[in-house]
């Protein structure tokens, strides 16, 4: 072996800080050393697609080529199918845009849908809506694929012996209406269980159904932050959900809520959070996170304090005590005396200094602080939220950084008590008909409720579902619903703000929206479209303006009745209205040294509602960088103590449930915490909802006592980090600095390198020169750009096997770097760096291509022409950024109908044997340049948006013409925080990164 680098970590002489990408790299394990340094995983893999080995194929071909005569010039016959009746306004080849909206649990976004020839191919944020103006989340981007999912239930069916027996709507409706009428006559109970939605017209439909059949409806979602609503009721007497203004917060404290990931409105939160840390404008907030599970939000914290799962409540109460004490609230302080920081230190070994410091900072930033709660269903979640409310109100943050006035009228679900009551009714055999829509209680509810038994006692269970879920399998009838892109609807995510959902394609299968089903069963003559239109014309639109028409609303996608008051800092809640007796049922301060389990909704799968969406399954989790399954995360110390290594399969055992999961070693995790992501189910991962504890008759997702039992098995984890070694180049790759350092020196953190000569003549870029700036200070790691790029550029999904081999195809990836002082690797800093093709001016890939398939364009792009590529892979070998992806297999063969309809026709779908990489969305550049040339005008700055840029909620990516005067990208590329990755290799990349600043 040639000289090996003994230690792959570099010690920065000044700061004594090391950078590392994974535990294996830090530890320099033998497997890691064996794997890295190799460009491609060995041994060569046989393609399952064709039966023949490559070498055999060549042998056969060599023989047959000798026998082939003159090549045939006849090419395959292609047909053109014209429209029979061309719809007005549709020209084949020209995209048509529609405005719609997307609701995902507690998040709601206004989207613009790009359709081609009548089918949606891409989602973009509707920047005019005052909701999520700047972007969309990863899950929102991936929702497009769900429309075309081959597993969607095609026809209304009866369920027999757990399988579907297809039928038709007429028969099903007859059967259902007959039963409903019969039950109504005998006075039996009819119940509707739905997920939580903010749709006002759906409420109307439910009311009309309830009136027709004397029914009642419950809307409950386990992952909806019900505890916040209950806590608000206890604290202020009103059931409300607040809205946050992170841009106005100078000090932010969180107890685990993933507000930059998938909690409440993460897109708006990210925009606000990034704005509040716009260092070039002199703004910097301070974010302190107390988390039991390191979420993507926590990785952005200036100070991260690992907490044992279940102990967040004590930390929150302790913080409330400190704040009460410092603000002279003697009564609350005395009632919380047992949670004084010293007591936490002595009884549960939690460092008092963290709480004291945090309290000091919060009190000092009175009126500009913001405390946020924990992830859904934390232990003692309601009380924790009450403590949070107390702190916010005491410090006069209400109305400034959090706003209760924007809460919409009807947007709260039913309480868990009401749900329990429903299950009890079912157990008692009182419920004759149960309609389950947009909910999967058998998958998500606590096992103690015994929903399966309860369902068996219901006379008729109707499941309005798109997929064959756990609940559908136990129903009698399945009524397939519609995807939001095929359906009408509305949403009311904020007070006065109403968004519309409109179909952009006729239902692909025989689905019918559940609202239409309910209307039909209630005997209504109208369908949901008509009801929606009527509701808007008579109630919603008049609230906004008397001159607004239905068509206007459809075109805009939203209406805002509260527009002028949206930024008012009204205060419903305040210290005056806070009810101190809400701080009751205080838990005993005690803890054990055992392992405590935390269940959390993963960023990609959330609560599991789309757990078969392959884009989401292949999306690397921003924290663990794992794909395709869930694991049990442990800290390095705990794993070492239990003699467990990455990939060892253990049986996680709680008092009521056990499951086998592979171990993943996760820095920043508290030693006494084991973390497992929810939402997964076989064959991709394990169903872990049954772990949730049901103490005190409310579900709790953390603080569950577990034991780990070795099984002796090991598993290979599909991790996308750890395929490459940093090779002593950490500081050439990522620059960061502290806020203090930055204030003294705007170039802080950037490693200087010598001016390097170039072998080639400097290229002249007359005309356009495309460039990009990525601000790592704004990037939170949410990975929306990864999914947006996948949707826009027809990037294939390769599956777990191939990801293990390092063959994931994402053109943009978010590299996660840990950095810590020597020896202090348990709680390192985390940095996210989106990495795309750097479009180098001195590209190492261009010089080695034997067929000139990759070359440099006149406008600064490194181009890729797929048809010339013969698959040498030399270019990928030469690329120091490792951004080139090779199509080892014919991925198009694995696209099952109708998923082929999601492909973007404006870009080539690559076949086997071809190299691909980020092209700066050349198809978008060409489209907009086309438009400008035809309209005989110049391109405007910001007119061309790459897919990643357009979806980034934090606006971390800027793209444009470096040669354009005063363009945004030119200004930012000249920033004092700007640096190039691996600059000393003299590749002269056209992507400039901006330093990350931490407020430590």
């Amino acid at each position: 072996m040639l000289q090996r680098i003994v230690k792959a970590v570099i010690i920065n002489m000044k700061k004594n800080v090391t950078f590392w990408k994974s535990i294996e790299e830090l530890e320099q394990t033998a497997e890691f050393e064996a794997r890295t340094g190799k460009e491609f995983a060995e041994p060569p893999q046989k393609a399952e697609m064709s039966g023949m080995e490559r070498r055999d194929f060549l042998k056969v071909m060599a023989a047959s080529i000798a026998m082939a005569g003159a090549a045939c010039t006849r090419r395959p016959v292609e047909k053109i199918m014209p429209y029979i009746n061309k719809p007005e306004g549709v020209i084949p080849g020209v995209p048509v845009w529609y405005a719609s909206s997307f609701e995902d649990g507690s998040s709601s976004y206004a989207v613009l849908v790009r359709t081609r020839e009548g089918r949606p191919v891409k989602l973009e944020p509707n920047v005019d809506a005052p909701l999520n103006a700047t972007g969309l989340s990863a899950r929102a981007q991936a929702s497009l694929l769900d429309l075309y999912h081959p597993d969607r239930i095609k026809a209304p069916s009866f369920v027999q012996n757990g399988t579907l027996k297809e039928s038709n709507w007429e028969d099903l409706d007859k059967h259902i209406i007959a039963k409903l009428d019969a039950v109504k006559k005998t006075g039996g109970k009819i119940r509707v269980l739905t997920g939580v939605s903010s749709s006002p017209t759906t409420q109307k439909v439910l009311r009309s159904f309830e009136n027709t059949y004397n029914a009642a409806s419950i809307s409950y979602d386990s992952v909806f932050p019900n505890e916040m609503v209950e806590a608000a009721k206890l604290s202020y007497g009103k059931s409300l959900l607040p809205r946050y203004r992170f841009e106005e917060a100078k000090v932010i404290v969180s107890f685990g809520a993933d507000f930059l990931g998938n909690w409440m409105n993460p897109v708006r939160n990210m925009a606000g959070f990034s704005e509040g840390r716009n260092v070039d404008a002199g703004k910097m907030s301070r974010f302190i996170a107390f988390e039991s599970v390191p979420t993507v939000t926590g990785t952005n914290a200036d100070m991260f304090v690992p907490v044992k799962a279940g102990d967040e409540i004590f930390v929150a109460l302790s913080l409330a005590y400190e704040v009460a004490r410092r603000t002279g609230n003697a009564s609350v302080a005395s009632s919380l005396r047992s949670y004084a920081p010293e007591k936490l230190e002595s009884k549960i070994n939690f460092p008092a200094s963290h709480i004291v410091e945090t309290a000091e900072e919060l009190v000092a930033s009175r009126g500009t602080g913001l405390v946020v709660g924990a992830n859904p269903n934390a232990k003692d979640a309601v009380l924790l939220q009450v403590a949070v409310n107390f702190i916010n109100s005491t410090l006069a943050n209400d109305g400034v950084t959090l706003d209760w006035t924007l809460a919409p009228r009807d947007y709260v679900g039913s309480s868990f008590e009401e749900l329990k009551h429903l299950v009890a009714e079912m157990h008692a055999g009182e419920v004759e008909v149960l309609i389950v829509a947009d909910a999967d209680p058998l998958f998500t509810l606590p096992a103690e409720l015994n929903c399966e038994e309860a369902l068996k006692k219901v006379g008729l269970v109707i499941s309005c579902a798109d997929y064959f879920t756990a609940t559908s399998a136990q129903s009698h009838v399945v009524c397939p619903g519609t995807h939001y892109l095929e359906a009408w609807g509305d949403a009311n995510p904020e007070r006065g703000l109403y968004t519309l959902v409109q179909p952009v394609i006729a239902p692909l299968h025989q689905g019918r929206s559940c609202q239409d089903s309910l209307l039909h069963w209630s005997g209504s003559e109208s369908n949901y479209h008509e009801v929606l239109k009527h509701n808007w014309k008579s109630e919603v639109l008049p609230r906004v303006s008397s001159s607004l028409s239905w068509k206007d609303a459809l075109k805009m996608g939203f209406v805002d009745a509260f527009a002028s008051k949206r930024n008012d800092h009204g205060r419903i809640a305040s210290a005056e209205t806070f009810n101190p007796s809400a701080l009751k049922n205080l838990p005993q301060l005690s803890s054990s040294a055992e392992l405590s389990l935390a269940l959390y909704p993963s960023l990609s799968l959330y609560d599991g509602r789309n757990n078969t969406n392959s884009w989401l399954l292949e999306l690397p989790d921003p924290v663990t960088k794992l794909t395709w399954e869930n694991v049990v995360s442990l800290s390095l110390a705990t794993a070492t103590k239990l003699s467990l290594r990455e990939g060892d399969v253990v049986k996680v055992k709680s008092e009521t449930f056990s499951a086998e999961l592979p171990v993943h070693i996760q820095p920043k995790l508290h030693d006494a915490t084991a973390a497992v992501a929810l939402g997964f189910a076989a064959p991709h991962g394990m169903q872990v909802y049954p772990f949730q504890s049901y103490a005190h008759q409310t579900p709790s997702w953390n603080g569950i006592k577990v034991e780990l039992e070795k099984t002796g098995k090991t598993a290979l984890l599909a991790c996308t980090q750890g395929h490459h070694e940093l090779e002593n180049r950490a500081h050439d790759i990522f620059s960061d600095a502290t806020w203090k350092e930055f204030q003294h020196n705007p170039h802080a953190g950037i490693k200087k390198h010598a001016e390097l000569p170039s072998m080639w003549e400097e290229r002249k870029y007359e005309g356009h020169r495309w460039g990009m700036v990525i601000d790592t200070n704004a990037c939170t790691g949410c990975s929306a750009c990864v999914v947006a790029c996948q949707a826009e550029n027809n990037i294939p999904v390769v599956g777990k096997e191939q990801v293990i081999r390092g063959r994931e195809m994402h053109w943009i990836r978010i590299d996660r770097y840990y950095s810590s002082e020597k020896g202090k690797t348990a709680n390192p800093n985390v940095s996210h760096q989106p990495m795309t093709c750097q479009q180098c001016s001195n590209a190492p890939c261009e010089t080695v291509c034997p067929t000139l398939a990759t070359f440099h364009s006149d406008d600064g792009l490194n181009m890729m022409s797929y048809n010339r590529c013969v698959g040498t892979r030399y270019c990928a070998n030469n690329c120091p950024y490792k951004v080139r992806r090779f199509n080892f297999f014919e991925q198009t063969l694995s696209i099952k109908e109708p998923m082929n309809q999601v492909l973007n026709p404006d870009i080539t779908t690559r076949s086997r044997g071809v190299m691909e990489k980020c092209t700066f969305c050349i198809q978008r550049i060409q489209e907009k340049r086309n438009d400008a040339i035809i309209e005989k005008r110049e391109l405007k700055d910001g007119e061309i948006k790459t897919a990643c840029q357009q979806t980034c909620p934090a606006q971390a990516i800027t793209f444009g013409d470096l040669n354009m005067k005063e363009s945004q990208v030119a200004k930012m590329a000249a920033s004092q925080r700007g640096y190039h990755v691996l600059a000393e290799l003299n590749t002269r990349p056209v992507v400039t990164y901006l330093t990350k600043i931490r407020n430590v």
């Binding site: 047909k79 009746n85 080849g93 022409s865």
Partner: protein
Amino acid sequence: MVKLGDNTGYAPKQPIPFSHKLHAGDNQIPCQYCHVGVDKSKHAVVPAMNICMNCHQVVKLDSPYIQKLRDMYANGQPLEWIKVHDLPDHVRFTHERHIAAGLDCTQCHGDVGSMERVSQVKTLQMGFCIDCHREKNAPTHCESCHY
């Protein structure tokens, strides 16, 4: 030497023997009356059948081909035209830009107004495109057409 990809002279039989000579030549119907959207789209847009029916609701009803057209229109069956001018999949050609640049249809498609059955008269190989592009100072960098 066999020339690969040269399809000059390709004149496939179409499901209905539509004669451009009759329509575009003798009756002087302009190209863009039927090929709507060629100036707005990448595609030349073979006309939708309702455009044919604009006239053929009343014109030449006795012809068996018109009857075939009317039957298919009534039954919702599209006519499956055979594509004559086909470029390989890795080429992205935009009609819109070429119309905007002032090109006449005949420059690449030949004198279609005199064709009973459409045939390809130019090679449409890359050299053909590049020759004209160089002459007219149109973009010749690869990513203009290959991406």
